[in-house]
Amino acid sequence: MNGIFEWIIFLSLSTIAVVTAAGMILTMSMYRAGLALMASFVALAGLFILLNADLLAAIQIMMNVGGMLVMVLFMVMMMIDPGGEMMWGMKRDMHMPGLAAFSMHMPRGKPPEEESTQEQPGTHQVNDWTCPMHPEVQQDHPGNCPKCGMTLMQAEAQQSVQETSNQSKVYTCPMHPEVREHQPGSCPKCGMTLVEAETEEPHQADTLKTYTCPMHPEVQQDQPGNCPKCGMTLRSTDDTSQSHATGEHAGMSMEQGAHTMSGMSMEQSGDGHRSHDMSMPIQASGESGHDMNISQHDMNMFGMTPRQYYQMMVDMAMSTSQLPWAIALGIASALLLIVLVVQTPWPLAAGGPTQDATNAVGELLLSRYMIGFEGAAFLILAGIAGAVLLGKRERTQLQLQMPSPEPQASDAGEQTYTCPMHPEVRESRPGNCPKCGMTLIPAEETVGSQHKHGGHS
């Protein structure tokens, strides 16, 4: 091939590879990020072809399109925040430059003392630490709950909330204040542990609230969530705060551009992501906009001690205090690799990969190592057959064991509650599963419900 032509192809492909890779981290959409990564690797495959390494190029494309893109798709389908896009976008919207763009600043200063020195009015001087979800867990020092891993809170923090208010507890997410649950658990949006919140309107804590979309008032439901039409966060009908009506959600249109089978436009953002509501409950104070100094207001808002708040900020930072060391080590490794590649201090073989090399590899695999292929195929087949047979056997046994009578109304003390998805979770009282947040059900119901959940044929 002509030298100048080669250079043009090389520069074009290299530019595409770098630009698309950069584009991967500049987009909020996991789907676009996956495609950008795929494009980058396909451009790299083009570079392999330039080096006459066709096989490597083909493998490169196969692995990235067939493998990585599929992984991206499943992440989009299954995960609440695939690839951390939501968290990443939130930080970007807060205009955090530099390192903070990749990770929130860690809270500054030393962690506060574990014992709270701030006297809460009307509380007892009880040094018990307890779990918000498991009151039976009590210890005299802070730590994590042995049952669910939640950070223990001081018992008086719970007592003070109970004494100052007669309403039932409301739990909220530090990241999503619109999430309000009457039981502890995890935030349905980001998975963070819910913390107690002050209820501003106590009379409404027990009444059923209706949540609606600021853009689609016709959508109504009895719990918080996202609008199924546009993805915006649903607001309580009592909430007088204004919605982010413009520019916050992609692809909203009722005009010619989109239609349904009826012609009624009900489109939503094509990437199907969650709300783009970027309101942050915590207003940073201090000189820089992202200085995470703890404020009294913030602590009181969530009923947390300074130590608890500090722990929460460490979680949100998604980082480590060793980050500077990690960065230094990464840069040093990269420099070392570049030096090695440029200098190549090891003996080099003459020439580059040839077509014969691929043929030779193919011949070796297909002639000498045929037995290996056969053996691998047989083992895989045996594995699949075994899994199917064992699976059938297990299902048959479960069916035989399934009790037929209805669950008896028994004393509360004898009743065990379990999670339909996690049967190993056993609690003595109703509540939420610490693993997935599902409502616990009486243990006798789980066998029948397993069949109900198993049947997506």
């Binding site: 692809g251 953002s269 699949i384």
Partner: protein
């Protein structure tokens, strides 16, 4: 210059072949008594689409919506390069031709997914994830089905695979491989009964719901072209390619491809459109074990039979 000429020849052949597939489909729909209409209607449909307005929905992804049909066509053109019409009548002959072909099929499905996703409509999004199901459905079966001929020919080159069938076509002793290959090929080409991602009535056109005009035409051409290419690759892998008595090699190759295409299209008339989860079930629970059985059988036969094939 030579490369350019070869590329143009390949594209011309592809274009003519795609037209033949379109005519074949019309014959299936209309019957053998309406041959004239079958030959003219595809051209009339194309002209009608060329005259139609090219709409872009509001909120559609700028790049993906516009590029999807071109990506599909580019993939189709690239895969056509490794299809030999006769001995040494091939656009590009790498030693890994078959592997190159299989690898390049996945961007085609990705182009379909992009088409659905970029439309900014719910129907498009639903059909995108159905197309994603296709992506994970076809790859393993088609790879394993193609391994049979590769093991027998001990080469990934399409020309070698055809030449090694001089004694006996692979369809005779690898019928299971052919069946798996044809099913996987139908997944990739979104052909009935595996066209739920394009489901006309269910999702209002699926991935093509918002496309109109030239872009829609390009997609339709790409779909027919990929079907043609997959059938021709099937001929190469299992039916001896261009080999046959009396007639010239390329003519045999074309005839065999059209007959196989007609058979596959005809067989599809008796089946309802399958759901995408049924396609996944078919792929992972039936085709994957079947292809492993096929590899085992082919391997045994390759080792046992003197000469290897």
């Amino acid at each position: 210059m030579n490369a350019l000429l070869i590329s143009l020849e390949v594209l011309l052949g592809l274009f003519i072949g795609t037209y033949c597939i379109a005519v074949l489909q019309q014959l299936m729909l209309l019957g053998l008594r309406r041959v004239g209409i079958a030959f003219t209607l595809p051209i009339a449909n194309a002209v009608q689409l060329l005259r139609q307005e090219n709409l872009v929905p509001r909120g559609a992804d700028f790049f993906l919506y516009r590029s999807a049909p071109f990506i599909a066509l580019a993939v189709v053109a690239l895969t056509a390069l490794v299809i030999p019409l006769g001995p040494n009548l091939i656009g590009f002959d790498p030693s890994i031709g078959l592997f190159y072909f299989i690898v390049l099929l996945s961007p085609f499905v990705v182009a379909m997914m992009n088409a659905g996703w970029s439309q900014n409509s719910k129907e498009g999004l639903f059909s995108t994830f159905r197309a994603a199901a296709y992506l994970v459905s076809y790859e393993v079966p088609i790879g394993f089905a193609a391994i049979g001929p590769v093991m027998a020919a001990q080469s990934l080159s399409t020309q070698h695979i055809v030449q090694s069938q001089a004694g006996l076509w692979y369809v005779v002793w690898q019928p299971l491989g052919l069946a798996i290959y044809l099913l996987a090929a139908l997944f990739v080409s979104f052909r009935h009964p595996f066209d739920s991602a394009l489901a006309g009535d269910e999702l209002e056109g699926g991935v093509f719901a918002e496309y109109s005009g030239v872009r829609l035409l390009l997609f339709k051409v790409a779909l027919d072209a990929i079907f043609l290419i997959l059938m021709s690759m099937g001929i190469l892998l299992f039916f001896g390619g261009w080999q046959g008595p009396l007639l010239p090699g390329p003519l045999w190759f074309v005839l065999k491809t059209l007959v196989l295409s007609a058979l596959v299209l005809w067989a599809g008339r008796f089946l309802p459109r399958l759901r995408h989860d049924q396609i996944l079930t078919l792929s992972w629970k039936i085709l994957l074990p079947a292809s492993l059985v096929n590899i085992t059988l082919v391997g045994i036969l390759t080792l046992v039979i003197p000469g290897g094939s």
